[in-house]
Symmetry: C2
Subunit: 334 residues, 2 copies
Amino acid sequence: MSIQSVAKKAGVSVATVSRAFNFPDKVVPATREHVHRVANELGYQPNASARSLRTQRTRVLGVVLPTLLNPVFAECLQGIARAAVAGGYAITPVTTGYVLDEEERAVRQLLAGNVDALILVVSNPAASVALQRLRAAGLPYVLIYNRHPDHPCVSVDNEAAASGAVMRLVSLGHRRIGMVSGTLAASDRAQQRHRGFVRGMKAAGLKARTLEIPFVEDAAASLARFLSATPRLTAVFCSNDLLAVRCIRAAQRGGQNVPRDLSVVGFDGIAIGEDLTPSLSTVTQPNSEIGRQSVELLLRALDSGSPPDAAASRVLPHAFRAGESCAGAPPEAR
Amino acid sequence: MSIQSVAKKAGVSVATVSRAFNFPDKVVPATREHVHRVANELGYQPNASARSLRTQRTRVLGVVLPTLLNPVFAECLQGIARAAVAGGYAITPVTTGYVLDEEERAVRQLLAGNVDALILVVSNPAASVALQRLRAAGLPYVLIYNRHPDHPCVSVDNEAAASGAVMRLVSLGHRRIGMVSGTLAASDRAQQRHRGFVRGMKAAGLKARTLEIPFVEDAAASLARFLSATPRLTAVFCSNDLLAVRCIRAAQRGGQNVPRDLSVVGFDGIAIGEDLTPSLSTVTQPNSEIGRQSVELLLRALDSGSPPDAAASRVLPHAFRAGESCAGAPPEAR
DNA sequence: CTGTTAGCGCCTTCAT
DNA sequence: ATGAAGGCGCTAACAG
């Protein structure tokens, strides 16, 4: 079903058919409707490849994410998908599994796939070969979750959010507060959140203890050790919700009650956290909104012709979602 | 960076450049390497649109899913993405939010987007306008999670899996077993699982009680009512893991201990279930594998030129993952 | 083994 | 307001 066949059947030129679809006002109403009717009868669908070849725009957004197994990114992708569809764009997501080489491969693949722009979360913007390559290609892009002064980013203020969570715990009477983090070297978010934790603890005059959990490792054993060390922690702040969930499990298996013996606070605000028992206390990020705004930024840029730069970065509001996993410190620990 | 520029710079014809990439053996090694080197220097990337226009193949797979907010589909999409990349394909996912009109829109959109094939989960294959449209278009497709004799499907045997779960509960001494289901009318899986539940209960000579929870509704209240009705249930089978999680919450808020007072079994095998406390007992589906196999099916079909038909359907093995949310019935209830 | 060339389907000047 | 025609970048005959 090509534009040719429609033109022939409608008794007009291909130019008219094209205009009837792309610039309806440039065609007299009678012709326009006639063309549309014929196109409809024939089930005509304009060929995206041909259009892209001609216009040099694919109307496709590439998306590079670490994984969909973490609901944070699934929620965000959902937001991206919705916004893209609304804007008449399709998306092509690729996951990297937190592997640097995969990030590069993903960017290369998408560059070759002729996408109009890229949304991505990288391990660390400061040292990302994938990002360099992307910049060199001159393709519009925006980072999400990452935060770096040299790049356009849509994120929350991780450091402030983390230190805010600490303050929250402190105000609940906690003094022996630990942090459980994912691999620090592998993620700027993890670093920023950890920095916020340390800063918050320092501000409160408390000693910061941190457990770093490599991706690969089964966290159970090290978590159990961390949580049972003396003097016992009364609260832990986790750099993401999945860790927090594991933390709660480790604590309960170790005979501690959450939140009576141990308060647990996560980071991310994944939806399922509200359905757990105890429900998860967490620093929420507007995941879907992060996706939406990154799309908005890019579409605006594609429209205006000027790719987003660092100045276009947006810091979205975070919030503390109080859940049952967090309570006041036991009296004797205060 | 077009094939032209590479040809010129390399002092060969465009045909040779094209061949050097697509049929390396048809070019003498010296020329081939020369071309590759030049292409590399120029940072040449073949234009996907032009190639698609010429070959009539986009090397893109469309994916239609209800939502990414349910980890089942996120896990599956991850499997699809991985398999697609491995096969040199990109994917374009679209979510429908369980809304029929959206299914149709999604299919239309992807049809227009010139994808080579479609992977989709629809509400109900028996009555899906989207599916009819798709068939009419003649595009290769495969359903996942759905199960229907007239379509190529990759799924598990929901009915057998559900009745198996009931038998499991029965063998644990449970007799007052209820089922919590999502909207039955809106999903063939839900219907199949419910049928399996009813069958299993009948086989055990037990009375089946079912609570159907509409999508929109906040499940908490109705769940609480269902779980506290007399005579009290000692076990509930949920038609998906998200419901099971909510069920556990409702039970605990109602003062019941899981699994001591109430055993809860889910369906899906979402990864996070293992990290919960109590860990989730559930009927697992190989979500990632479902994705992988659907891609395999399609790529094979695209290769051979004959679209998959109902006979190509695959029923993958389910399994019962014993978790802490399920235990023997209390003695007095047996 | 390599080159020449038609044409995939569409948009977009340039005429009319 | 509409039509004619070139060309986007590539692949695949076909020729040499």
